[in-house]
Every structure is written in structure tokens, then in C-alpha cells.
């Protein structure tokens, strides 16, 4: 059970959050990319061994969607959201 730093609420138990998945690249304009690139955007999700950027939703707290870097090997939060203590 991780301790996740929330910019509004401070360090809070993982149980207060909902997992939002790894952060994908910015959504491209589907009218300017090829069909293959669009399908790749839709279907390919980062899954590294090591730090991954991912989103968590503080659904049982302030409601903020925040972004952290988590090391998938250790659960260490190697970089918290901006503004978090």
C-alpha cells in the first residue's frame, strides 16, 4: 500500500486513490496522423521495468487527477506531482 503525495491533501494512503493508468503521449489530431499511428496511440500503453509516469485520481479525497513517476520494481515514487510536498 503506497503513500501518494497529493498537492492539495498531502501524503495520503493509496486506498483513497483510483488508478488512472500509465500516461500515454498527448492525443494527436486524428486527422493529421496515419491510421497506423492512430491505432498505435489507442492501443499502446507504456509498460516499462522501472520508472513509469502514471495517473492517480484522488477520488476519496479532493478529486484531483495527479501524475507521479513510480518505479514498477519497487513502488518507489521517484517523482511526485508538481506542487506536492
Amino acid at each position: 500500500m503506497m503513500n501518494i503525495p497529493c498537492p492539495f491533501c498531502g501524503s495520503r494512503n493509496e486506498a483513497e486513490f483510483a488508478f488512472g493508468g500509465p500516461v500515454k503521449p498527448d492525443r494527436p489530431d486524428p486527422n493529421t496522423v496515419s491510421e497506423g499511428e492512430w491505432v498505435a496511440y489507442l492501443t499502446q500503453v507504456p509498460n516499462p521495468l522501472g520508472p513509469v509516469q502514471e495517473r492517480w485520481w484522488h477520488v476519496k479525497g479532493c478529486g484531483m487527477w495527479l501524475t507521479i513517476w513510480r518505479d514498477t520494481r519497487t513502488h518507489d515514487i521517484v517523482e511526485g506531482p508538481a506542487d506536492a510536498e
Binding site: 503506497m2 488512472g20 492525443r27
Partner: protein, 970 residues
């Protein structure tokens, strides 16, 4: 009755006898006993049968390391597979052995001993292959079974979870842990100290040592008393720290909480720092018949005489490769046990050990090659370690010690590294992965002085203070020479007593190529028992090392996983029973519904709703039919409050809704509503609903009941992560607006009878229109949407007004025959109309075209969620499953979910029935289905293939009633 109980000594209360039953025998022990010590006091030596060979077994350890005597507790304590050494005795305890039938003394399974050579490690993988393992599995599982799980949860008491935070969590209240706790506690840190034993003291409880010149237990009591006075210290006994997770999150299982109504409490602790003061566990020596009753760990024999006042035998032989057993021999002698000899595999015995037992024969450079005796040990065969003539010594107790393994389990669970220490011949904590340290024997500090010193150091470091004074103590220096197994002798020599894993099994695994310690573990099952190999795992690694000529540090250990010791499921679950974890949601009408005979159930998203309102003598189907006829022919009313409702505010709402809906919302005029579909970006329908534009920058968006929470997440994620600069604010108002929906041809008459200042004529308030005003004097928003296909008025009011509104509707509607409608009738009415239901027709594979809703996919918008994915998918040639209506022929019900196969034969399905209901307007069963290329197959006959029959059905358009929609627009 003959007894092994000593007249004095031990931490038992001889004035408080306790009666208990073991395998049907009525026995007596004392307060302070464990079941194991009481059995030994009663001279019960044969206490168990082994897992695989059903060999006779006795008590081997004195604590959580016990690999042998597992018992099933009956009656009030009902639980399975408890080591007898960890069961505190209480009056009326009923215990029985596992793994034997009918009793450990006369066990029919003992026949396995005769065929032992035919059932080596992995034998069943090799033997029970044809035609498949699953044929044999039930019988083998039964034969190999341990205790049965309790049939029912305890009748009295309950389990509890508790969260806690502390600056410092100390696992273990032995000398090192207590020293750390008192040092950090005095300095003001919020300290939590938890220990698995019934009382504090750790190894000091089992040994005869002094601290500051007085008995060590006096020091323990002084420290415990002081901790009790410190408000910043929480001290838990009989509480095992059983898991060490990421971010210093630990689990503590407290087995005897102070609250009498509690069975167990599981603490979830977030600790600033952690000190592992978990001590060390003695390992066995490995020689022939090292599992005979009467062969016992040396430290266990010491514990029984010192802590419980029980002599586990009359004439002992001590077998060791290290110093600690000499202190044991001295304690056994002091307790009146004859120590016939100390067999030491080392050729040079350190003088400080030898002087403890000057009157005892010490045979240095010798080993025990085997224990003799069938049902209990009657003597040992010994021989020089480097070969030579063997001889025999008579004894009824063989106390052996193969050295000490630091209990690095928690440390390892925290992902801290281990290193192999040649001097201690064991694995020690190395680099920490979290904010943790280890002290005392856990860290290889084997003497009392070192334990006290390291505990004080860690406590002082945690608190940031200088090192306190350490009380004086004296202890035997620890020295060990490894002896992984005795090579002489031909009898079975056990590495893992609980799973019956012998040296031969490990050799077999190596011969067959399983040469990694993790593979050896899985092939032989060594270390996979309830004890998790606490006494034997390192010997297995040592045996592999001997056979391969590789050093232990290269082999490493198997993975230490939580739980450290077994934890009951009840303790993990705590009070998290269904209705507590996810409470039901209720509307203000629940009381009215129940009073009026509604059959209540959950219908999505934890909402308790009325399913139907049966009248006396009415069957389920009769009730639903009546409610449907009322809506189609007269007027009904239902509580539509659970529908997901969101208020959107801001300048960019129109733009945002255009992005998430397939159709254009931004062109909607204030005062009007529009139905729309929402897709995920990969082109699948995630929800449908109606958007109302209240004013330029203010909207109400409704979602289906079951998806409201998911849609809230969807809106917020998009707004916060993709469009953070858009001016849109979403508020959940599902419970701020409740509604009563009046539906049926007479709905307008009821509205007029209620009285409203809103013009409800079709011209002023058309379908999909809405208006604010009053209904029956109550402030209301009137919305003309329809889920039943009939003229409907959704009267939205504040929740506090809903019961009053409901009563007025019932009164005003009485002359028109109004009646409340449940979810079941609602379902029938929407199926007749071919309206979608998420989870039925919308199952995560269909897109709008499949449902005949292609018109809702905007061509004008260049981009919205799902547009391009749908286009890409439909550009292929795959046959799509499309929504159709079905009429079963002959007229009968087809179960929801029934597969449609070509010709009703055993072929890949071409679709499925998504709903089938009894339609009162057609007086027959009608249904909806998803069917391959269904849009072009109207008029065809398809077949649903069930287990026992095939039902034909004619394919029709999906709307069975009022296809033009005149009624809902009326």
C-alpha cells in the same frame, strides 16, 4: 498420572490448573502453558503423523518455527493447522492431530512408510499423467490434506482492522527490541512495538541470563512497566508483524486484543522508521531419523525446562555444531535431566563453552548418524565425523542445534538485501531498501550485550539522541562450524520435516536438473509448508551447496514472502462485510416502498430499488404484466432518482460536450434537451443519456444509473489532464435532484390534477423540452423525456420534497388508477420500445451503427471521442453483430444471454439474445438480440441453442411497439 512437570520454576501458575482434551484424552496443564508444553508435561510424545509418509512425530520446537505438531482446534476456538507450540492453553481447549486417522498412535496412512521408496519428490508429476492430472487430483488432495477449515465463522465476537501511524515500529520485544523501544520512547518518539509471544522478553524468557547483575526477566518487567507509562508508546503482545510492504506499510496481527468482543485485530501501520528485532531461529541438524519423537531443537528443550517447568525427557544427548547448545546442556542438567553426552561435530570445542558443563562427557569431532527407536527415540548411534567405528548411547531426548538463522523474513519482505556471513554461517541483512534497520540476533549480534547495544543504538539514532548507558550482562560467545548434513547413515534424513522432504529428495531434484534453489524448493516442496521452512531452508541451501561444490553466497536464498506466520482470513477481512464496504444507496422513498409491499433489490451501482409491487395473491409475472398494462393504458409513476445527473458550468461546456458526445450538443438552444451517445476513444459505447441546456453556460447531463461513477471519472480525467485550460466545471447532482416520473397516456391528466404553473401543452412543452416552475406547489423542474415510450413527465424536485410530491401524485392520480411501477416493468417497457440498456445490448463490443444509431454519429464534426476508431473498424470486412428484434416461435421465453447458432447446431455463435420479456401489448414474448448482419436479415428465422433444446425465433426490427414514436411525443 506420571508427569514430566518440575516442582518449581517456569512461568506457569501451578495454582491455576486448566483441563483440556487432546485426541479425545482428557489432560491437565497450567495457566501459562502452551498446548505443546502441556502435552510434554503429560508425557504425550507421539503428537502427530507426517504429511506424506505418515511417520510418527513429536514436538520439535517451542515457538513459531514448529514444523511438526499441527493441530486442529475444535469448539469455540475452531481453526485448523495451528502449531501446538503457539496455542496458549485455556480451560476446555479441544485439540486433535492432523494428518492421521484414526489417531497418531494407530494411523492407517502409515502404510505410506512401507512404499516410501516409490514416492520420492515429484512422484505424482511423473505418475499421474494419463489421461490427466485432474482425474487423480481430488483423491490425492484428500490424502495429503491437513486440517479441515472451520465449517462456520465463530458465533461470538468479531474481527477488526485498525489503521495506525507511528514514527518508529519495532518488530520484536526481545532484549534488542525492548532496548530500542525504551530509548526511543523516552526521547518522545511515537513508538509502536509488537511481539508475537504472549509476553515480552524474547529469548530471555527461555534462558537463564542476568542483566545488571539480576535475573534478566526483572529487567524486562521494568522496561515493560516503563513503556506502559509512556503515552507515546503502543506496546502490543501476542501480535505478529507479519508483512512488510512498500512505503513502510506493515501489518500486525493482534491475536488477543484488550476488547473481549474482539477475536483478532489486524493493524495496518504506516511507520516512519522500522527496526527489525525479530531474533534468530535455530536450525535443525540433518541426520538419519532426525524426525523421531524425542528429537528436539536444543533451544526448545531449554525453553521447556526454563519457561514451562517441563522436562522433555529424563536422559538426554545433546548434538551440536555450535556453542549455544552448551548453555542448553547446562540448563537441562540444572533441571535434573541427565545429559549422557554432548556430541560436537567440531574437533575444537571453545573453552568458554566447555566450562559450562564440566561434568558432562563431550565427544568432540563426533556426529549422530541416526536416532534409534520406532515410535520415539530410545538412543542414538554416533561415530567420529571423519569416519570410524560407531557406538550407541541410550537416551529418550536428543536435543540438537545446527546453529542459528537470523529471522530476516521481514527485512527481506521490505526488499532489503541479504549477505552470507561465513563466521555465522547464515544470511544477514545487508543494504536496506526502505527506512529500516535490523538489530540484535536479526543482525547477527548473537550475544546479549551486543543485542542490548545494537537496540539502544538503533533507538537513539531513530530519535536523534546520544547513545544511552547499556546495562551490564554476560553471555556465552557464539561460535559455529557449518554442518549442513551428516553424511553417514542410511535412514531418511529430513530437511523439511513438515513436507517430508529428505536429503535424497534434494539430490534427486539436482540430478534431474532443478539446480536453482527456487527450483529445488518447488520440485521438492521443501520450505513450502505452513512453517515456511523456518528450521530447514538454510540446510536445503547448504545441501545444494555441498552437492554442487558452490558457496552459499552464490546460491542465495529463496524468496521470503508474507505472511511471516499464518494469519486468519477473518483478521485480514476485519469488519469489511459487504454492506459495510459498499453501503447501499437509497432514495427518500425507500420507507414508502417497503411499506407498500415493494420487493426491493439492488439494480446497479448499489441502489436499492423496488423491483415490483405485488398485490396479495399476485405472482411475479402477474404483477409485472399488471404494471406494464397500467403504463400502456392508464398512468403509472416510478422513482427515477438514481439516474446519474451532472451539472456542467462554464464557457466551454458546449465544446466539451461536442468532444464527448457523438452528436453535436453545442447548437442546442437553452430550454431544450437532446439524446446522445458517448464513446470511448477506441470507438465503443460507454454511455447514453440526455443533455439539457439550462442557459448559455449551464447544462444538466444525465447518464445511466450504473455508469454514473465511471462517467464522473471520465469527465474529470479529460478535463483535468487533457483540457486543463477549458472553462468547464462538473458537479455530481444525482442526489441533489430526485424525481418522480409520471408516465402513460393519462400522464397529462394527472399533471393537471396535481396543479402546475408550467404550461404542459404539447406545443409549449414538447418531447425533450423542459421548464422550471411548481408542481403541486413544490418547486420543480419538469422534463419531457421517456424511458417507457409513453407520454412522460419527469418531475424533478429537491430530495426533501420527494416524499410529499409522491403522496400528492398518489392522491391526485387515484381517480386515474395510478400505481407505482418497479424496475421489472420498466425493463419490459423499454425492451418493447427497443431502447438500449447498458450491459444488455451495449456490451462493450458494439458501436452506434450496430444498434441502428448511425444517425447519432456526427458527420460535421471533424473529431470527437471514438469517431476515428469507429471509422477504422468499419472500413474492414468483419461481420458486425447488429441489433434486431426477435419473436420466439412457438411463443415462449428464451433466456437472456442464449447463444444464436446457425441452424441451432453446434457451431460458432452468430449472436446472442440480449433480452426477452412478456409483452402485454402483443400478448406474447418478444426479445432483442445482437445478430451477425442482423439489419439485413429481418424476416429470417434464427435459432437459440440451449443446453437441452433449440428455440426458433423470427427476426424483426428492434422496435416492437409504436415504431413512429407518436405516443412518447404526444
Amino acid at each position: 498420572m506420571p508427569s514430566n512437570r518440575m516442582d518449581t520454576g517456569g512461568r506457569i501458575d501451578r495454582d491455576r490448573p486448566l483441563n483440556f482434551t487432546f485426541n479425545g484424552r482428557r489432560l491437565q496443564g497450567f495457566a501459562g502453558d502452551t498446548l505443546a508444553s502441556a502435552l510434554l508435561a503429560n508425557r504425550v510424545r507421539l503428537t502427530a503423523r507426517s504429511f506424506k509418509y505418515h511417520r510418527p512425530r513429536g514436538i520439535i520446537g517451542a515457538g513459531v518455527e514448529e514444523p511438526s505438531t499441527l493441530v486442529e482446534l475444535l469448539g469455540d476456538d475452531a481453526s485448523g493447522n495451528r502449531p501446538a507450540t503457539t496455542v496458549p492453553l485455556r480451560d476446555g481447549l479441544i485439540a486433535k492431530s492432523v494428518n492421521c486417522w484414526p489417531s497418531p498412535g494407530f494411523d492407517l496412512g502409515a502404510i505410506n512408510q512401507l512404499i516410501g521408496r516409490f514416492i520420492p519428490a515429484g512422484f505424482y508429476y511423473k505418475t499421474f499423467k494419463w489421461p490427466g492430472w485432474h482425474l487423480y487430483e481430488p483423491t490425492i488432495r484428500k490424502a495429503a490434506g491437513l486440517a479441515a477449515a472451520p465449517a462456520a465463522p465463530p458465533e461470538q465476537g468479531h474481527f477488526e482492522n485498525r489503521f495506525a501511524h507511528c514514527d518508529l515500529l519495532i518488530a520484536g520485544a526481545g532484549p534488542a527490541g525492548l532496548m530500542a523501544a525504551s530509548t526511543a520512547g523516552r526521547a518522545g518518539l511515537r513508538v509502536m512495538i509488537a511481539d508475537e509471544a504472549t509476553e515480552a522478553g524474547g529469548s530471555l524468557l527461555n534462558r537463564r541470563l542476568t542483566i545488571g547483575g539480576t535475573p534478566a526477566l526483572g529487567w524486562v518487567k521494568a522496561v515493560v512497566d516503563e513503556l506502559a507509562t509512556l503515552p507515546n508508546v503502543t506496546h502490543l503482545q501476542n501480535a505478529t508483524v507479519w508483512a512488510y510492504r512498500e512505503h513502510n506499510y506493515l501489518m500486525v496481527n493482534e491475536r488477543a486484543p484488550d476488547n473481549p468482543s474482539l477475536l483478532e485485530r489486524n493493524w495496518r501501520v504506516r511507520a516512519g522508521q522500522v527496526i527489525c528485532a525479530t531474533g534468530a531461529i535455530e536450525r535443525m541438524l540433518v541426520f538419519g531419523n532426525n524426525d523421531r519423537p524425542g528429537v528436539m531443537l536444543a533451544s526448545a528443550a531449554q525453553t521447556y525446562v526454563n519457561r514451562y517447568g517441563v522436562r522433555p525427557g529424563q536422559r538426554a544427548v545433546v548434538f551440536t555444531n555450535n556453542n549455544s547448545a552448551y548453555a542448553v546442556a547446562a540448563d537441562l542438567t540444572a533441571a535434573g535431566i541427565t545429559v549422557a553426552a554432548i556430541i560436537d561435530s567440531r574437533t575444537d570445542v571453545p573453552e568458554e563453552a566447555r566450562t559450562l558443563v564440566e561434568d558432562v562427557d563431550v565427544l568432540a569431532g563426533h556426529v549422530v548418524t541416526g536416532a534409534r527407536g520406532a515410535r520415539q527415540v530410545r538412543g542414538v548411534t554416533i561415530a567420529p565425523v571423519d569416519g570410524g567405528a560407531s557406538r550407541q548411547i541410550t537416551c529418550d531426548l536428543l536435543a540438537h542445534s545446527g546453529g542459528w538463522n537470523p529471522a530476516v523474513h521481514l527485512w527481506s519482505q521490505s526488499r532489503g538485501n541479504l549477505r552470507y556471513d561465513d563466521t555465522l554461517t547464515s544470511f544477514l541483512p545487508d543494504q536496506a531498501a526502505q527506512d529500516a534497520t535490523s538489530v540484535g540476533a536479526t543482525n547477527g549480534q548473537m550475544t546479549l550485550a551486543d543485542a542490548l547495544g545494537s537496540g539502544a543504538r538503533a533507538g537513539a539514532d531513530a530519535a536523534g539522541i546520544t547513545m544511552p548507558d547499556i546495562p551490564t550482562s554476560a553471555d556465552l560467545i557464539y561460535a559455529v562450524t557449518p554442518l549442513w548434513r551428516v553424511e553417514q547413515g542410511r535412514d531418511k534424513a529430513f530437511l523439511d520435516i513438515q513436507n517430508d522432504v529428505t536429503v535424497d529428495d534434494v539430490h534427486l531434484a539436482l540430478r534431474e536438473g532443478y539446480d536453482n534453489v527456487e527450483h529445488v524448493k518447488r520440485y521438492t516442496t521443501g520450505g513450502m509448508g505452513i512453517d515456511q521452512g523456518k528450521t530447514g531452508n538454510i540446510n536445503i541451501i547448504g545441501t545444494v551447496a555441498m552437492q554442487q561444490g558452490a558457496p552459499l553466497e552464490e546460491l542465495g536464498t529463496t524468496t521470503f514472502r508474507s505472511p511471516y506466520t499464518p494469519v486468519s482470513f477473518g483478521a485480514i477481512g476485519g469488519l469489511r462485510e459487504d454492506s459495510v464496504v459498499l453501503p447501499y444507496r437509497h432514495t427518500p422513498l425507500t420507507a414508502w416502498n417497503i411499506k407498500n409491499g415493494a420487493f426491493m433489490y439492488e439494480s446497479g451501482a448499489r441502489w436499492r430499488r423496488p423491483g415490483y409491487f405485488p398485490q396479495p395473491g399476485e405472482s411475479f409475472q402477474e404483477t409485472v404484466n399488471r404494471e406494464c398494462r397500467i403504463v400502456r393504458n392508464g398512468v403509472g409513476v416510478y422513482d427515477g432518482s438514481p439516474l446519474g445527473t451532472f451539472e456542467f458550468k462554464g464557457r466551454d461546456v458546449g465544446r466539451f460536450l461536442d468532444h464527448i458526445y457523438t452528436n453535436i450538443m453545442s447548437t442546442l438552444k437553452p430550454g431544450h434537451g437532446r439524446y446522445g451517445l458517448m464513446l470511448s476513444d477506441d470507438g465503443l459505447i460507454i454511455d447514453d443519456g440526455v443533455a439539457l441546456r439550462l442557459s448559455e453556460h449551464r447544462w444538466i447531463v444525465s447518464t445511466s444509473t450504473g455508469h454514473a461513477d465511471a462517467m464522473n471519472s471520465h469527465f474529470e480525467e479529460l478535463l483535468q489532464t487533457q483540457f486543463p485550460d477549458w472553462n468547464v466545471f462538473v458537479t455530481t447532482v444525482t442526489s441533489q435532484w430526485n424525481n418522480a416520473t409520471i408516465c402513460g397516456p393519462l400522464a397529462r391528466d394527472v399533471m393537471q390534477a396535481l396543479g402546475t404553473d408550467i404550461d404542459i401543452s404539447p406545443a409549449a412543452l414538447p418531447f425533450m423540452g423542459f421548464a422550471d416552475g411548481h408542481v403541486a406547489g413544490i418547486p420543480a423542474r419538469l422534463v419531457r423525456v421517456s424511458f417507457t415510450g409513453e407520454l412522460s413527465f419527469e418531475v424533478n424536485v429537491a430530495p426533501r420534497h420527494l416524499p410529499a410530491l409522491w403522496d400528492k401524485i398518489m392522491t391526485a392520480g387515484a381517480p386515474f388508477g395510478i400505481a407505482p411501477i418497479g424496475s421489472e416493468a420498466n425493463h419490459v417497457l423499454r425492451v418493447e420500445k427497443g431502447f438500449l440498456s447498458l450491459g444488455h445490448e451495449v456490451d462493450g463490443t458494439v458501436d452506434p451503427y450496430d444498434l441502428g444509431l448511425g444517425w447519432a454519429m456526427s458527420k460535421k464534426k471533424t473529431d470527437y471521442l471514438g469517431k476515428h476508431a469507429v471509422a477504422i473498424r468499419r472500413s474492414g470486412t468483419t461481420n458486425r453483430r447488429e441489433l434486431v428484434g426477435i419473436l420466439p416461435e412457438p411463443d415462449q421465453m428464451i433466456p437472456e444471454g442464449a447463444p444464436l447458432t446457425p441452424g441451432g447446431e453446434r457451431k460458432p455463435t452468430e449472436g446472442l439474445v440480449t433480452a426477452c420479456v412478456y409483452s402485454t401489448v402483443h400478448d406474447r414474448w418478444v426479445g432483442l438480440a445482437l445478430l451477425e448482419n442482423g439489419h439485413s436479415r429481418h424476416g429470417e428465422t434464427v435459432r437459440a441453442r440451449l443446453k437441452d433444446k433449440v428455440i426458433a425465433a423470427r427476426v424483426t426490427p428492434p422496435i416492437h411497439y409504436d415504431a413512429a414514436g407518436e405516443r412518447l411525443r404526444s
